[in-house]
Symmetry: D2
């Protein structure tokens, strides 16, 4: 019953096998390995982007911060949602990598910003010349941090506002595969066709050990990205072990199937919670995350049964009055078991106790 | 015949096996995994440093740059050898992480600086007050970039000069195990007993996929290091896969045995080169690197036979007059084969050609 | 009729005279001038702070950004009001100087934050460990950017909240003299006795050419400040010309008298506006700034008569529907004339037109 | 007898008068003052550069660091002479403003680098790809820190090497007027016609209180410079007081006449030292700085008579064996008196003592 995060799970056996295969003999270092050529070709094909530059790093924070730094100057503003990962969960990595850019928060229901809200903020940014930070770039997250999802049309609408103000667009796709499979569109539709310039394509939360791709659709800034990656200490010498993970992940739709499975588990969980007296679902589920309010007693029973998950929002904490429900975040993964979900639901409902009794 | 770098090799099977074992089930993220507790305990025991803070990152550049940033202020000077990795090969990562510290180069034969050379530089740094960068810290490398080795006594002598000027001491141990086993001393003797405050303990070049430890002997700055690691994007979410590599590496002296093997292969190579007419060995071999000058014809034969290695120093390049020997760097690894070395030596001598003929 | 900003005014003749006096002969550079000794002694005496470190720079942005950088680490949050100068008007200088700290905005009526609002924000900042930026410092502004004023008791209450969370406190005193004389308290009461650690003591807006003091009440970080000042390019070689301005400003209460005069002019202006049909005063005037809503027709008449001032808030712009009043900011200065104010009021009322006609 | 630095002198009366004139009434802030329009027009005319962007800041360190940051990326190398001011005397300001660029030192007699030495360094920088810092820009100093002078032809030769490697060229002209008048060429000849992209045009050392211009010959990066200036806290609100200094300085060739006078005084000093038994002149005097070795006894007599100057190089310090001469740096200024020089020479020779006796 582990629902803290999809990064608490391991990797499918194909990844271990791929590492073992890649291990044979000597290989060129620092990204010159043949497996990387394969990864690049596959991603270009999948995204219908034959000129795209593709790079691997080991963490999502690195993928995001390097992407932002490549497109936003130190005196720029990065427009993002109030609860974006880059704003809330990276200890200022975007500020560090950009040399002090300012993250400007835009609010919006369910972790999503709307084009009018973005337009208002950008319109307000104009008039004071050199005195305030300049409009820098837009960063969206899909799935969002509230587990909701932008459709390609929604991304395109936001990107269009950004474009009208001259801003490039970043997409934090730590859970890109979850969004993509839930949406049922193509990778191109969710990215460059919708106006995205640079994508953090997350592998770690969807079945890899620690591997993320950055896809830069217009390669004009590719070399700058490479220098920033090296300078940030994110260029692997034994790079083949990143490539191997990604190559196996992209093979035979493994990445999509892992995401589909995680999403299906979240659907099952959501379905079960809908039937829990006193529980309330929050936000429209976009993929593999479920946000809910649980009655305190149900929560206590689940905790007693060993269920692991985080209160949400984080600042809420674990404690609260008996009569007030607790907000929680429940994340499923490619390896979440149906039985686990059913046990969790039973514990919430007190059925587990009865059985145990 | 692959002698470009020890980072062109793979990993021993124990590491793959350890990753497979660590993969089971869910595990706490971000360094809270139980394997990390094991790694920490082992390193503390090995270094006889029960209070040491121990952290893992994936690259040597990250280990070095984060260590320097934790100990040297932005207005400080990092004293290092002219050919130190931090100066030559990290694209300015130390400057980036420290916020603009200045690397001050000290020259010295064979990649080693001497206490008098350090003292002269530090004495000269004193008098101009706020106008120049301040004395910041000392960074040594062992094995050095010229493949030589500092003894504990030599480290202690340099650290003592640094200490007299109030400077902390960093040791870049990308090839620490190679130095340690060649020297035959204890980890403590080569580090904190000799005055080292923070160590980059390299795993990648000695049989890991991408894992380095940072050992901070006085934990006063440990929390700052943790924040810098996160902010640099170097904190792994699925941290257990770093821990697993390190735990397996430290088990049953694997790390030492891998280094011993690489060193032995370098000794064999060195021995063979000593008998090559016209060849000249450069620098006193400290571990698993051999620097030599080769006759152009021998070099051409080796290249023709498929041997891979780099000219050295790097700016020298591949070309040069027939009559002038070429400087080369030859690095052995835990998986270098005796047969490979013998083939390489035969090719240099032209024996391979004869046999083939 | 110049009410755009107090930095559009010049300097009183005493300042020119002081520069001329200071000009004689040679003088030690970089702050070692005898006039600086005098300035330091005067400020220590005025603030009853015999150990305070005192430094001069030429701009308020430098004073603020250097102060913040000295007390807040790169991974820290600077808590400030939503409309603080450091957030809105310095093009990211705090982010640049701190190495990427995050400014966290707290809202509050009239440019003032309240202790409960601060407490809520700080309490929320606690729980996520290394993943988010850490609590860094508190920065207050007095006079605020809305022209209101914190009393010493209000500053003390906010500083007390900060202190309970371990945070140092900065006071942006670009209009400190205006606040001080309006409040009628001592400099110590408004600063260190209320819990302020570091003060930007503004001279430029109150009669100097370009000179601000930074007063660090506990000198432990004084040397760090000096290095940051030099490194930021803010240490004057011919420092005597900054010292001379400050020495003259502090002599015979000139600084207080200039501020009193500016405040008195603002009171006169406020009084006049109170009698203007359709006008509405906003915020409680704390010193030399008046914020009001003016009927569009009155505004048009004032503009036609040549009055200069800015719409407020800045993003509102100049244009708007006839029937909707325009928000404006009116700033008086030590050299604002009574006649100017009366002419402006007459223009607003349309009396100027009639007279002219 | 004050020869420590030209920044120990004051300003000619025209500057005080100009400040008094500029003080009347209100003026637009932040560089929108009419005097700045005048300064810009004058500098464009003087430099025959009608499109040049011209900005004022208060310190030479700001002028240099902002110029470098505008043209050199964080991962770039700034090639400069080993004793350049940006390397030795700015506490790492270039590293701070560029975000961690690396200053690469080139040696050369008398503070001057030669085209072959630069070419060797640039050629060596090429081959290692992403691993080392990239070629960034060239920074020259004229007058150099050893008081020597580059001719336009020498600058052009160095700039040509830089250009061949794609590097822009900065000229640190803290003593530009001294170099210009000594050389007898036009400002254009010494700058853009010789290949200079950006000039720090020093006013402070040549008769201003604290005012330096940055001249950007191709305005493509002008807006970036403006943002960097603001963000660095170097944009003056009461900017007219910088403009007024520069306008007066440029009027009626004042800036050239001040430099000529300083140079003439240095010539007189040099002539006198040539006749001092045991003294030795170092470096070819380029303007207003004289470097010499003095017999210890002469030095002691000068000190006893109250002469002020610095030992050189700085790390040498004041002490040394009786029999060994002391290296000194003697800087004249626009206000150095002939009598002062003669007194100093007399003191060195011991004539002052005899007279006094």
């Amino acid at each position: 019953m582990h629902f803290t995060s999809d990064n608490a799970s391991g990797v499918p056996e194909q990844i271990i096998a791929a590492l073992a295969r890649a291990n044979a003999g000597f290989a060129p270092s620092y990204g010159a390995d043949a497996l990387m050529d394969e990864v690049r070709a596959r991603i270009r094909a999948l995204f219908e982007a034959p000129r795209a530059a593709v790079y691997l790093v080991a963490t999502g924070t690195a993928a995001n911060a390097l992407s932002l730094a490549t497109y936003c100057p130190p005196w720029g503003a990065v427009y993002c949602h109030r609860i974006a990962h880059i704003e809330e969960d990276e200890c200022g990595a975007p500020e560090f990598y950009t040399g002090g850019a300012k993250l400007v928060k835009i609010d919006g229901e369910g972790g999503k910003m709307t084009p009018p809200a973005l337009e208002v903020r950008l319109a307000a940014a104009a008039p004071v010349g050199v005195h305030n930070v300049q409009k820098g770039m837009l960063s969206l997250t899909n799935l969002t941090e509230a587990g909701t999802r932008y459709s390609p049309a929604e991304i395109a609408a936001l990107a269009s506002v950004a474009r009208a103000h001259g801003l490039p667009v970043h997409l934090d796709g730590a859970r890109f595969a979850n969004a993509l499979t839930a949406e049922g569109c193509t990778p191109a539709e969710m990215t460059w066709r919708a106006g995205v310039d640079v994508l953090s394509l997350g592998g770690t939360k969807n079945g890899l050990m620690g591997a993320e791709a950055v896809v830069i659709f217009d390669p004009a800034r590719a070399w700058e990205f490479e220098l920033r990656r090296k300078r940030g200490g994110h260029l692997f010498s034994k790079h083949r072990f990143l490539s191997a993970q990604f190559a196996a992940w992209l093979e035979d739709d493994l990445w999509l199937n892992l995401a589909r499975r995680a999403n299906a588990m979240a659907a099952r969980l959501e379905g079960g919670l809908a039937g829990l007296p006193g529980a309330r679902l929050r936000f429209a589920r976009g993929g593999n995350m479920v946000f809910a309010e649980l009655p305190r007693k149900a929560h206590a029973r689940a905790r007693a049964a060993g269920a692991q998950y985080y209160p949400w929002p984080p600042e809420q904490g674990e404690d609260g009055p008996e009569t007030q429900p607790i907000g929680v975040r429940l994340v499923t993964s490619w390896c979440t078991g149906e039985a686990d979900i059913d046990r969790f639901l039973a514990a919430l409902k007190g059925e587990g106790d009865q059985k145990a009794g």
